[in-house]
């Protein structure tokens, strides 16, 4: 068998096998919106763990964490820290969000805004924002998929067609299986990705340098100071300490604000399940250290990749020095790491659109059966939209991708005050949000970062400040509905 055929066959078998496993696990379920979108709020520790960890093992971490270690050095360590910051916040934030969802039948994050602030327009604006921001984020996963399939095909194929087929398959899978199916498929994904990252971060350095620590010594000899943040004025000067600290804070605060996160939180069986997940989740993040190792090894073994090409780092080492079977297995883990987060994003975006835009705004599809059907069809529409955007505008999406993190994080003050401070009303949140989004967009678009600080961080501070000032000047008079005690 030709090497590219073997590697690609393994990938196809793994993807199909994962889908089949997940479909078997949901085959007896009746689908209504509560099952389809939030898994009937019944997930125990394991499924919830896997769903919440989805954010950690995406293709951005699989390829990006290694790629940043390869291309930017110590800056990549921010990926290790922001999740931990997020879990420490989530430990306090998620249980009350879950309680509100449970008591009032909420399905999405915009539902929370509508319920707590009593303003449909605010909720609809949040829904539209989440929906628009998520499409470029899905396309990022498609680019990851393309890199993996190109390398696994030894450059013999045009990967665009393969990416389209794999992604369409995944969209049909989400259409059928909903959140629970995606969670079960993620069990397979996480096991495979864990194995692949450990292999790439331990076995590859051992092969070339005797041990991961020998590899670190070698990299530091070739590139002095590569694993510390640069002083102002050095090459890589964009990634100094102020950037590092503010990016960790920004990403940590925004961690749970995407359209896929609220359904995952609501899917928990109880609040204690969420708390326990927050307690232990940081341990899972430690695996990222091995992704750094994989990227650093590639820097020593196959130097010379520039810019976005750095994302191919350790996969190219796999391609050059390992058998097609090994390449196929590692690449298939990476493909799942791109496809499954993309599917929860599809589902999240479709749920937000069917519930908050069609339902709350246009008063359409409000019955259970119509809403499930609308959500399903929207999964396919969002998938089609993302795929089209990706095929035609691949290169011009970078701006939007950077904006995703900055933009989605601006929702955080509204969510945090919803739980923590009854004086804040809809107008305060809306004013802060508008200011945050505008500032955030300009800071990303014109790459403004005064003092080396992440521009989105200024936007978040001003957003929160406006929110607080308006709340102090015009406090919410009536007691807001259903803020839980304790």
């Amino acid at each position: 068998m030709k090497p590219e055929t073997l590697a690609l066959t393994i990938i196809a078998a793994v993807i199909l096998g994962t889908i089949a496993f997940a479909l078997l696990s949901v085959r007896r379920l009746k689908m209504d919106p509560h099952e389809f979108i939030v898994g009937s709020r019944s997930f125990g520790a394991l499924l919830l763990w896997i769903l919440l960890a989805g954010e950690i093992y995406t293709s951005f971490t699989f390829l990006g964490a290694a790629g940043w270690a390869y291309g930017k050095g110590a800056a990549t360590f921010y990926i290790l820290a922001y999740g931990t910051v997020a879990y420490c916040i989530g430990f306090f934030l998620l249980p009350p969000i879950w309680r509100l969802g449970k008591d009032h039948g909420l399905l999405t994050l915009p539902d929370l805004f509508i319920h707590r602030y009593g303003s449909k327009p605010l909720g609809i604006a949040v829904a539209v924002l989440q929906f628009l921001l998520v499409v470029p984020y899905v396309t990022l996963q498609l680019t990851g998929l393309q890199i993996l399939l190109t390398i696994a095909g030894y450059g013999q194929y045009n990967a665009t067609a393969a990416v389209s087929v794999a992604f369409t398959l995944m969209a049909l899978f989400v259409f059928t299986a909903g959140l629970r199916g995606t969670a079960w498929a993620s069990v397979v994904k996480d096991a495979l990705v864990l194995g692949a990252i450990l292999f790439a971060g331990i076995a590859i350095p051992i092969r070339f340098f005797g041990s991961p620590l020998g590899m670190i010594d070698h990299v530091l000899k070739l590139h002095p100071h590569w694993l510390t943040l640069p002083p102002p004025g050095a090459t890589n000067a964009a990634y100094t300490v102020p950037w590092f600290v503010t990016t960790i804070l920004l990403s940590g605060v925004g961690f749970f604000m995407g359209p896929a996160n609220a359904p995952a939180i609501y899917s928990a069986k109880n609040a204690e399940t969420l708390r326990r997940n927050m307690v232990y989740m940081p341990l899972y993040q430690l695996v990222l250290v091995f992704a750094f190792f994989a990227g650093l090894t590639a820097l020593a073994v196959t130097p010379g990749l520039k810019g976005p090409a750095a994302d191919q780092s350790f996969m190219l080492v796999m391609q050059h020095y390992y058998s097609p079977a090994a390449l196929g297995i590692v690449a298939s883990a990476g493909c799942l790491a791109a496809l499954l987060p993309a599917s929860t994003l599809l589902l999240g975006a479709a749920s937000v659109f069917s519930k908050n835009v069609l339902g709350d705004w246009l008063n359409a599809a409000t019955g259970d059966r119509q809403r499930t059907m609308a959500t399903r069809i929207l999964v396919l529409i969002v998938a089609f939209l993302a795929l089209t955007l990706w095929i035609f505008f691949k290169t011009s999406l970078v701006d939007l991708l950077l904006f995703y993190y900055v933009g989605i994080t601006q929702l955080a003050p509204g969510v945090i005050f919803a739980i923590a401070w009854p004086r804040v009303g809809a107008a305060a949140v809306a004013a802060g949000l508008v200011a945050g989004e505008c500032l955030g967009y300009f800071s990303v678009h014109f790459a403004i970062a005064p003092g080396g600080i992440n521009g989105g961080f200024y936007a978040l501070l001003i957003n929160a400040a406006i929110c607080i000032l308006i709340a102090l000047a015009f406090p919410e008079k009536k007691k807001p509905a259903g803020v839980p005690a304790g």
């Binding site: 931990t84 620590l213 670190i216 510390t228 600290v245 430690l286």
Partner: protein, 65 residues
């Protein structure tokens, strides 16, 4: 839960994020190497690894009156 317990919980959960953000300017160095890791990476791995201890303690405080 008493205000003191509330404060202790918040303080416990705040320590790891502070060590991973505000303390970084002091941890941004290569030496001393810890078990072969450059100091910055060792520092970050350590604080991520001990975060569960802090959160677990905070969770205990919630349940004992």
């Amino acid at each position: 839960m008493t205000p003191a317990a509330r404060f202790t919980r918040a303080a416990l959960a705040a320590i790891p994020p502070i060590m991973l953000t505000l303390a970084i300017p002091f941890a941004n160095r290569e030496e001393p190497r810890i078990l072969g890791f450059p100091f910055l990476l060792a520092w970050m791995v350590f604080w991520v690894a001990v975060t569960p201890v802090f959160l677990l303690t905070a969770n205990r405080l919630r349940r004992t009156p």
